[in-house]
Amino acid sequence: EDKVVQSPLSLVVHEGDTVTLNCSYEVTNFRSLLWYKQEKKAPTFLFMLTSSGIEKKSGRLSSILDKKELFSILNITATQTGDSAVYLCAVGVGSQGNLIFGKGTKLSVKP
């Protein structure tokens, strides 16, 4: 059975800290790995990774994929209170790219 496991499930940090969120997966027919940020209802797209070892960056956020070890990390540097959210990792599988989601990491950034 395909599965995506995120850790930690929750994390509390202070503004300015750097955090690393983890996502491991076991799936057949891997196509892509995506990270989303969910604050209220709709997940907002952060990154899509398909190749190992290529870091993607957007401001203070970055992510990398290791297809040999079957995991990805999402780094957030100099955290701000606005980074407080649930971060979802999803793996796209099959020809249609159906997404299998992890349970998410709830990040709380304290002032």
Binding site: S32, L34, Y36, K41, A42, P43, T44, F45, M48, L88, A90, G92, Q96, G97, N98, L99, I100, F101, G102, K103, G104
Partner: protein
Amino acid sequence: SAVISQKPSRDICQRGTSLTIQCQVDSQVTMMFWYRQQPGQSLTLIATANQGSEATYESGFVIDKFPISRPNLTFSTLTVSNMSPEDSSIYLCSAGQIEQFFGPGTRLTVL
């Protein structure tokens, strides 16, 4: 990226009734998806809706309970039929074959 809207944004329904959720995309897309997010849980794929073909349902979801229409390349509907309190969830549609973008979701409460 695609901009996706959903209607209604929320609803409170009585047990035994049905609700149809609409999803509109601002551009033509081949693939649309419907997800459910139960309270405190991550997203679970209900079905994939391709224009011109029957929807493909994931294990645990059936057409009689969640009929889906996909009349054109920018629009889809999901009906939640014969509702029970267990159907209380956020229902989200998404679009995109590689990068998936999500609508704002429909928060459904069944009494």
